[in-house]
């Protein structure tokens, strides 16, 4: 019953009053402290990603020879690494890197994955079978292993990492979308649309897609958090974004040898990764909760 109601509500969402609805959703999201915290910290990182260069006291690769290897202080909040670079500035500036990589990667994966999932679920038959078995075989490989395999052939670069994130996450998004489509497409309002003679494209995008959106939003948020993790793991393993970029995983890798000398150069970017991943996860959890509540109303 709940999902039928969801479908009805989402159909209304195209009508005026969406602003009001948005605020009601947002209020639900912020009701629980953990969800609120996750949302706020995620937003904070987003803001840093946008205006980071204005906040950073130093350039990402600016070398302050005299302060090299200094610990955290008023002048250098997160200390200085072995090459004399301000860790606070690098963490701030690295935020944009991780957001563009993980963000654009997730966005593309969601766009392509959703299209494929919609098509696969709606058409069914041999197309569905073929695509899903192919995705199964891709998913049989652990994400990191698949990423390493792909990067081994593409060579390490920012574009390669982006490509890898998209390739690794398309199957996952497509399967989630397809499962929702399968449960929705036998509903009576879809039948009605078909009987009315509406085109497949119209049914897919006007009738089915809105029903998929809540699940998709949650999935996208989850994918985003995993993409952050994947991008920094690849950076850490040295096959992702290349030095001297202030990518967090790469910073952790570079600081590894000097951990007893400049531990701050390792712990702050590592903490940034964990903090961002945790808060985006909380946000995803919150979104899931919101759409459930919304559905039950």
């Amino acid at each position: 019953m709940a999902s039928a109601a969801t479908a009805d509500v989402t159909k209304q969402s195209a009508a005026p009053g969406w602003g009001q609805r948005f605020f009601s959703l947002a209020r639900t999201l912020l009701r629980r402290p953990s969800h609120a915290l996750g949302t706020l910290i995620s937003l904070l990182f987003l803001v840093i990603a946008i205006i980071g260069p204005l906040l950073a006291p130093y350039g990402a690769n600016e070398q302050i020879v005299a302060d090299a290897r200094d610990g955290p202080s008023a002048a250098h909040w997160f200390g200085v690494d072995t090459l004399g670079r301000d860790v606070y500035s690098r963490v701030l500036l690295g935020t944009r890197d991780i957001f563009t990589l993980a963000g654009i990667g997730t966005l593309l994966a969601v766009l392509i994955g959703t299209s494929l999932g919609l098509l696969s679920g709606y058409r069914g038959g041999w197309f569905d079978e073929l695509l899903m078995r192919f995705f199964d075989s891709v998913l049989a490989l652990p994400a990191l292993l698949l990423a390493l395999l792909l990067l081994g052939t593409l060579g390490p670069s920012r574009q390669s990492v982006l490509f890898v994130i998209v390739i690794v996450y398309i199957p996952i998004v497509a399967r989630v979308v397809r499962s929702v489509v399968l449960s929705v497409k036998t509903r009576s309002y879809i039948e009605a649309a078909r009987v009315q003679g509406e085109s497949s494209a119209r049914i897919l995008f006007r009738e089915i897609l809105p029903a998929v959106l809540p699940a998709l939003a949650v999935e996208a948020a989850l994918r985003f958090s995993y993409a952050i993790f994947l991008a920094s793991s690849l950076g850490f393993l040295g096959v992702g974004v290349q030095p001297p970029s202030p990518e967090w995983g790469l910073m952790v890798n570079e600081a590894r040898d000097a951990v007893s000398q400049t531990p701050w150069a390792l712990y702050f970017p590592a903490a940034a990764i964990s903090l961002l991943v945790i808060s985006v996860n909380l946000l995803a959890d919150g979104l899931k909760h919101v759409f459930q509540m919304d559905g039950e109303r």
């Binding site: 070398q63 850490f236 001297p244 952790v252 040898d257 712990y267 590592a270």
Partner: protein
């Protein structure tokens, strides 16, 4: 896969676990001490007959080659130097040739004939005595043009190697070579038995005998009771345990699982300072990382470009950041301060002047700066050097894109000889002529900058052929001045090598090429 997982665990797990602690106090992380496994009692084993004894456990990279003609890595040379003997060795302190299997030598006045007499009582591990025939066989093998060995070109100058008697060998050269004794001490020139069919059988005459060799695990050596030097080796056993990573070696040293580590990065070396029970040491070397620009095509064929790069480089800052102050500042020539007879401290490249560098670039037709890709292997201090250069040169309008590559990519398919701008590491050698002949003279085998300068070639020929020490020194001085002014390379520093040993041992003398360190002089305190 195992290393990937352990890397992730090593970095991420403590990072998350300790983060809360660190927020409270951002001091250095607590250092793990104490052995992780059960204590090993090998060190305390008292020698019974000899006044010596004990087991030394060394952490090193695993061996790939064990045939003396094919070895190259430090670990391979370390084992070879323990199991075999060189005819001539080089003293780590004075850098002078010293006898080893050769008891002494006579050089003809024209410098083309060398007569070596062999020490008494040297035997191979299979019991047979070391004779002149073995030396002849060894060097004929190393210089056999069909063998493809790295030593073929090194020994091109040798006309013949002949046994003058049972224990005397005569080398005849086609032209005088003032550095011939050093050439004889080349890493590969270990004496093997006449007629050896499998040269990786470890049948040497050296201070240690191979007991077991488990590839990728360890090699166990026992003292050669019949070694011809009285009182050597001092140790009963040496175990060389193979590790994939420097970090793991240092951790094993801290934990007491190994006693000696040679070769480690500067931060790892720094982390071992003031650790109880561990003595650290470092040796100055003539090894360096150089930045070189191809000089035979655009844009490097305009000498103003390399001059602008020299002007844009702050060498002191590079030494401080990349080497943490260890080593010494370079003067753009491979003839470093270790060669006390030849290095000229008066020769200095121009001091940093960003404006002058900009002006030179503008003159050369790049008023808005120049964009270049800097290729570098991902090992040692090279990525750091690249990052520092990128920032220093940007101020002068030289905008670098970095391409940090695994060594096999950088050196693979001779790509490093092709690229316009690259960073290459050069190991330490006991004499300077090697660098000139392989790196800088016209058409040299590793002339990565494609440098061709008649004046330089003539000076290098003089330095490498003259038997007159003063004339040689003069040629080397002129070479240094020439390179500082218009050479195609920037040598910002000469790097040191680092070692650390348990304080239960003494007699450890780290060599500039760590693999050539003698294990047979190390003893228990």
């Amino acid at each position: 896969m195992k290393t990937i997982i352990s890397r992730i665990l090593r970095a991420f797990f403590p990072a998350l676990a300790v983060f809360a602690l660190l927020l409270a106090a951002c001091g250095p992380s607590p250092e793990a001490t104490g052995p992780a496994g059960e204590p090993e009692a090998t060190q305390a084993e008292p020698g019974e007959e000899r006044q010596t004894g004990g087991t030394l456990r060394v952490a090193f990279q695993s061996l790939v080659q064990t045939d003396p003609a094919l070895i190259s890595s430090d670990a391979e040379v370390l084992v070879a130097n323990a199991v075999y003997d060189y005819l001539v060795d080089v003293d780590p302190v004075t850098n002078e040739p010293t006898p080893r299997l050769a008891a002494g030598w006579d050089i003809s006045d024209d410098g083309t004939s060398y007569l070596f007499s062999l020490v008494e009582g040297a035997t191979f591990h299979d019991g047979s005595p070391v004779t002149a025939a073995d030396v002849v066989w060894t060097f004929d093998r190393l210089r056999n043009p069909d063998s493809g060995y790295a030593t073929v070109s090194l020994y091109e100058n040798i006309v013949s190697v002949e046994a003058a008697s049972e224990n005397e060998v005569n080398f005849t050269l086609s032209s005088p070579n003032p550095f011939f004794l050093y050439d004889l001490s080349d890493n590969h020139a270990l004496i093997i038995k006449d007629g050896t069919t499998d040269a990786s059988d470890f049948n040497g005459s050296g201070p240690f005998v191979v007991e077991t060799y488990s590839p990728e695990d360890r090699i166990v050596l026992v003292a050669n009771e019949n070694y011809f030097v009285e009182g050597q080796p001092a140790l009963d056993h040496v175990e060389i345990i193979f590790f994939a990573e420097e970090g793991a070696m240092v951790d094993a040293l801290r934990g007491g699982q190994v006693d000696l580590v040679m070769r480690m990065s500067t931060p790892l070396f720094e982390s071992l300072q003031d650790v109880e029970g561990i003595e650290t040491t470092f040796a100055s070397t003539n090894g360096f990382d150089l930045i070189r620009l191809r000089s035979d095509r655009e844009p490097g064929n305009d000498p103003r470009i390399i001059q602008a790069m020299k002007l844009a480089t702050d060498r002191e800052a590079i030494l401080e950041l990349v080497q943490q102050g260890y080593g010494s500042v370079g003067n753009d020539s491979p003839i470093g301060p270790l060669y006390t007879n030849y290095h000229d401290p008066a020769v200095q490249p121009p001091a940093r002047d960003v404006e002058a560098a900009r002006a030179l670039l503008a003159e050369a037709g790049y008023p808005d700066g120049i964009d270049l890709t800097l290729h570098t292997p991902n090992t040692g201090g090279r990525p750091d050097l690249a990052a520092v250069l990128q920032s220093q040169w940007a101020e002068a309008g030289i905008n670098l894109e970095l391409s940090v590559e695994p060594e096999e990519v950088y050196y693979g398919d001779d790509g490093w000889l092709e690229v316009d701008l690259g960073i290459t590491g050069w190991g330490s050698r006991p004499y300077p002529q090697f660098y000139l002949d392989t790196m800088l003279v016209t058409g040299a085998v590793w002339n990565e900058s494609h440098f061709s300068d008649q004046e330089f070639d003539a000076l290098a020929a003089t330095a490498g052929g003259s038997l007159d020490e003063a004339e040689r020194a003069d040629a080397y001085a002129q070479i240094q001045a020439l390179l500082a002014d218009r050479g195609p390379v920037i040598i910002p520093y000469y790097f040191p090598v680092f070692g650390a040993i348990s304080d239960l041992f003494t007699g450890f003398q780290l060599e500039a090429f760590p693999g050539r360190t003698d294990l047979h002089t190390i003893r228990l305190k």
